[in-house]
Amino acid sequence: MIYNYLGNYSLVFCLIFSLIIFFLCFKSINDPRKIIEKNIFSLLFLQLLTIIISFFSLIILFVLSDFSNETVYNHSHTTKPIFYKISGSWGNHEGSLLLWLFVLVLFIFIFSLTSKKHPKKYRIFTIIFHEIIVLGFIIFLLSVSNPFNMNYPIPYEGLGLNPILQDPALAIHPPILYLGYVGSSIIFSSALAALVQGYVNKNWASHIKKWIIISWIFLTLGIMIGSIWAYYELGWGGFWFWDAVENVSLMPWFCLTALLHTIIVLEKRNILKSWTLILSIATFILSLGGTFLVRSGILNSVHTFANDPSRGIFILIFLFIIIFLSVIIFFLFQIEESTSRKTFFLSKETSLIINNWFMMYFLSVVLIGTTYPIFLEVLTSDKVSVGPPFYNKLLIPFLIPFFVVMAFGPKLQWIKTKFSKIKYTNFFYFFISLAASVFIIRYSEAKYLFSTAIFVTSFILLIKTIEGFFEKKNNFSQKLSHFSFSIFILSILLNGAFSTEFSANMKQGDELNINNNSIKFINLKTLNKNNYKTVITTFEIKDKQGRILKFNPEVRIYNQPEILTSEADIKSNIFSDKFLVVNLLKDDGYFNVRYQVKPFMSWIWFSIILLTIGGILSFFRKI
């Protein structure tokens, strides 16, 4: 009970502090006294403190299963394991927004700590713009999504957390993804501040680059964890569904990745200033717009767990204010592009610009694919679905030139590269790639010409990135990231080309033969767990070589809320994942069984982790 008040009132205090900081910042712009700056700093600390208190109050409420709190009542249950009680506190709308706010305030505090050697006014303006976002979120929380609403009379039992959310991957997925999203808010406010102060230069670029990398790392990891979760919990072997909510997280990623490359051009050559700013602003707007799309519930998605239209409208208005604000500032404060030397076609700049060109294309495909059905329905009331075939058709052909540029781009020099520097070994690489691709295509059922092209280019990319490790240029993080990206692409391609699957309805004792494999349904047993009942089945799969693998996929029947989930049994090794999942059928004793062999599955996850390690190394790199 007490924690309800504690959490609620510290949020109110957070609002008050935010207003005071706002006021002091404006005062400090024309007032050179150091003391105001110090006050702002201590207020930022106090603000952080209030939000920590508020956040931990919510966690304690969840741990105590205090159903006098509406959020706890709606999303928790006494029989839930303690771990999911804690993670449940951010697994819902109100709590996740509180977490968002927490990260917002934490980041601006860290920003003010680490930016001391930069001009004072630039820092102050960043704080001003950031506090606008903070204010928006506090008002949002207090008005339409307060996590500390009270229930009266106090219920004895809660409604429980959706069982598919009761999962370790999904417990850490929101915080990590939010670190990525919210990191983009720092980039946003600092870009606007730099624009206002005319501080868009090399110094700013190398300073904000760190924040870009941080957000990028967390966003990448966050998307990956969500995808892993979908793979074993939600999907029947798929890991990316081109589902609207997944797309929403991918859009800022494209933008951020483009920004990650552009900022290098700005840092090294002092060009592309406006473009960098546009990307910085766009990344945050996409993050915010994504939140709107997910939270408003206008998307039809597997991941829609809670939504409420009135919240959607609030975020929509807030989104428009932010867009309006940034557009006005962008046109009010023109930036002078430095008139530096001419850029030649064969140069590093060109390849980085081409990277941006493609990233923007990928972004536009995903953005249009995700939002088009919404607009169409509003305008014509016709409903269309945009699914995987659309994205595959529009994205994959463009990957071919993209890989080529990615393979050769990093080898080019700034400003100008002589054509004669391109070596003949590349022809050799081309033929190796071609041979490898033809070999692969023969054993798969992919379309000939098109798949060959995509395989050839991705093999060339792989070879060129490996070659990069033997070159003298000291940029290990970039090499590692590009190398892991090529591994990532190849694993996805090979996975797509060689995955096999089989599904059938079976009952206990049945045995089936498919492609020299035999599947045998041995037995099943029912167990009662704390918050669910489970049916554990045992299968034996004998492969071509006669090796026997045992699988124990489960069907769980959760008590609160009553939901059936299938827990796949996955046997992973270096080369492939074997994936068996069962589902209860209405006919007595029959189960729907789906068995899949998915090659290079763990390579996909491994390569993404390696990719982010590249990012981490780049973060700690000097210069």
């Binding site: 029947w236 569904f241 597997v302 829609t304 850029t343 249009i368 679905s385 075939p389 089989f502 498919i514």
Partner: protein, 121 residues
């Protein structure tokens, strides 16, 4: 003896060819059900869903494949029954023309902007 061998080979061949076509049908069935939306679910394909609707859809798809209908005919059947919403690959018509070409237009426009701003000075 000879007859027996011929008979056995024929039997073997029919079983093999049957199982091959079965496997092929299973593959086609999976492919089609992946491209159809489960109408009663939240953003799941027929393939991914285990709802009653999806299960009966899968049976329907299987029957249609066994009848020898082509992939296109099956999509067209579902489209006339349930509307465009059920297809994950939107048909190209006046409603979706922009969906398909707008990204391409943007790509070309982006290329033009890059060319104008960087190389034509």
């Amino acid at each position: 003896m000879k007859k027996k061998i011929i008979f056995l080979t024929l039997l073997f061949l029919t079983i093999v060819s049957h199982s091959i076509s079965l496997e092929k049908n299973n593959k086609l069935e999976n492919k089609i059900s992946k491209n159809l939306r489960c109408l009663v679910c939240q953003g799941q394909s027929v393939y991914d869903s285990q709802s009653d609707f999806a299960i009966s859809m899968k049976i329907l798809i299987k029957n249609k494949i066994n009848k020898g209908e082509s992939e296109k005919e099956i999509y067209e059947f579902f489209r006339t029954q349930y509307g465009d919403w059920i297809l994950y690959e939107p048909n190209l018509n006046k409603n979706t023309i922009f969906l398909w070409i707008f990204p391409i237009i943007l790509f070309i426009f982006g290329g033009y902007l890059i060319f104008r701003n960087f190389f034509k000075k």
